[in-house]
C-alpha cells in the first residue's frame, strides 16, 4: 500500500495505461495530419492539372465542351429544267 491507499502494482498499471493512451493519441494526430496532407496534395494536383489543361480541345481532361456538329448527308441534286427537256416524256 502507498500513501493514497492504492497497491503499487495498480499505480503502475494506471501509469502504463496513461502512457499507452498518450502514445495512441500522438499516433492518431500524426495519422490525421497525414490524411490532411494527402487531401491537400490531391486538391493541389487537381487544380494544377485543370489549370494546365486546354479544355477547349478534344484532349482536355475530364470532359469535352466543344461537341462537333454531326455530319450531314449531302442533299440530293434536284433535276434542272434542261435535264427535264432532254428526257423522253411519256408518249
Amino acid at each position: 500500500m502507498n500513501e493514497t491507499g492504492d497497491h503499487p502494482s495498480a499505480n503502475a498499471g494506471q501509469a502504463e495505461e496513461r502512457a499507452r493512451l498518450a502514445a495512441q493519441k500522438k499516433r492518431n494526430m500524426w495519422l490525421a495530419l497525414a490524411l490532411f496532407a494527402f487531401v491537400v496534395i490531391v486538391g493541389v494536383t487537381t487544380v494544377i492539372r485543370l489549370g494546365d489543361a486546354d479544355l477547349s480541345k478534344d484532349g482536355g481532361v475530364y470532359w469535352r465542351n466543344d461537341p462537333q456538329p454531326r455530319e450531314q448527308a449531302p442533299m440530293p441534286e434536284l433535276p434542272s429544267d434542261n435535264d427535264a427537256d432532254s428526257e423522253e416524256g411519256p408518249v
Binding site: A19, R20, A22, A23, K26, R27, W30, F38, I41, V42, V44, T45, T46, I48, R49, D52
Partner: protein
C-alpha cells in the same frame, strides 16, 4: 533471438520503419533523373508537381522498407545490428508495419500518377513490388545472388524521375539505372564482409556465408572493374558534361583502388586483422559517397547550368 520488452511506439519508430537512410539516396537519385530529364529533353514539369512526384518516390521507398521490415522481422530479431528495429524491439506490431507498407504503396503510386503520368506510376509500383516482394520474399533467403538481382529495386528511382517529366524512359535513364545496379553488389558486399557472422546466424545466404569471403572479395573486384567505366558512359551519350566526367573518372579510380585493397586483404576471413576489416568498412563508406557525388554532379550540371559538353575525338 534477442528479446525486448514491449514499448509504446513513437513517430520515430514509424519513420525508422521506412528506412530513412535508403530513402534519402532513393530520393536523391530520383531528383537527379528529374532534373536531367528536363534539361536533356527540354520538357518542363510544374515545380509543385515535381515536389509531389518526389514525395511519392519517398513514400514508395518507405512503403517498400516497411514491407521488408514486416517480412524480415524474424531475422532482424536474430541479428544484433537490426535487433533494435521497431518490430523486433516490440514497438510496432508486425501487422501494423504491413498495413502501413501496403497503404503507403497505394498512396505513393496514386500520388505519382496524379502528379505526373501512368508510366512513372507504373515504374514506381514495379520498384516497390521488386523490393518488397521479389527481393525480400523470393531472393533474399534463397540465393547468394540476392543482392545482384535485388539491386534492380534501388536502381529504378532515376528512371522514375525521368519518366515523371517526359512520360518515357530513354537510354540515358537506363544508363543511370545500370550505374546503380552495378554499384549495389560491391557496396553491399563490403558491408556483408563485416557482418557475415550475423547473416550466418540468421541463415541468410549472403555471398560471404554461402561462398566464403575470398569469393566475395573477388566479386567485389569484378563489379568494381565494371562499375568504374560504366560511370563514364553518360559522358559518351552526352548526359554527363565536363564536371561529371572528371568527377566520375577520379571517383571511379578511387573506387577501384579501395576495391583492390579489399581484394588483397583478408576481410571477412575468420582471423582477419582489424586493418583489413577497416578496408572493407572504407570501401562501404566510400561507395555511398561515390554514388552521391556522381548524381550530385548531374544535378549541378543540368539544374544549375554548369554543363560543358565533352568533345570525344
Amino acid at each position: 533471438m534477442i528479446q525486448h520488452t514491449r514499448r509504446h511506439a513513437t513517430a520515430a519508430d514509424y519513420v525508422q520503419l521506412m528506412k530513412p537512410r535508403i530513402m534519402m539516396l532513393v530520393v536523391f537519385t530520383a531528383v537527379a533523373g528529374l532534373v536531367a530529364a528536363q534539361s536533356v529533353s527540354g520538357a518542363s514539369m510544374n515545380p509543385i508537381m515535381a515536389v509531389i512526384a518526389t514525395l511519392a518516390v519517398a513514400l514508395g521507398s518507405g512503403a517498400a522498407g516497411a514491407i521488408n521490415m514486416w517480412y524480415d522481422a524474424d531475422i532482424d530479431a536474430v541479428m544484433t545490428r537490426t535487433s533494435t528495429r521497431p518490430i523486433p524491439s516490440g514497438a510496432v506490431p508486425r501487422e501494423e508495419a504491413l498495413a502501413m507498407g501496403l497503404i503507403m504503396s497505394g498512396v505513393s503510386v496514386l500520388m505519382m500518377w496524379l502528379a505526373s503520368n501512368a508510366l512513372a506510376a507504373l515504374l514506381l509500383a514495379g520498384s516497390i513490388a521488386y523490393y518488397g516482394w521479389f527481393y525480400t520474399m523470393l531472393l533474399k533467403r534463397r540465393t547468394p545472388q540476392n543482392i545482384v538481382i535485388g539491386g534492380g529495386a534501388g536502381a529504378f528511382p532515376p528512371v522514375i524521375g525521368w519518366a515523371a517529366v517526359t512520360g518515357s524512359a530513354p537510354l540515358d535513364a537506363w544508363i543511370l539505372f545500370a550505374i546503380i545496379f552495378m554499384w549495389t553488389p560491391p557496396h553491399f558486399w563490403a558491408l556483408s564482409l563485416l557482418a557475415h557472422k550475423e547473416y550466418a546466424k540468421a541463415n541468410v545466404p549472403m555471398l560471404p556465408v554461402a561462398r566464403g569471403a575470398k569469393a566475395t572479395r573477388n566479386q567485389i573486384m569484378i563489379y568494381s572493374v565494371l562499375l568504374a567505366p560504366l560511370g563514364l558512359v553518360p559522358v559518351v551519350t552526352g548526359l554527363g558534361g565536363m564536371l561529371y566526367g572528371v568527377t566520375a573518372a577520379l571517383f571511379g579510380a578511387a573506387f577501384l583502388l579501395l576495391a583492390f585493397k579489399v581484394w588483397r586483404s583478408e576481410a571477412g576471413d575468420g582471423d582477419a586483422p582489424a586493418a583489413d576489416l577497416k578496408k572493407a568498412k572504407g570501401l562501404f563508406a566510400f561507395s555511398i559517397l561515390y554514388l552521391f557525388v556522381l548524381f550530385a554532379m548531374l544535378i549541378v550540371e543540368h539544374g544549375f547550368a554548369a554543363y560543358l559538353p565533352v568533345t570525344l575525338v
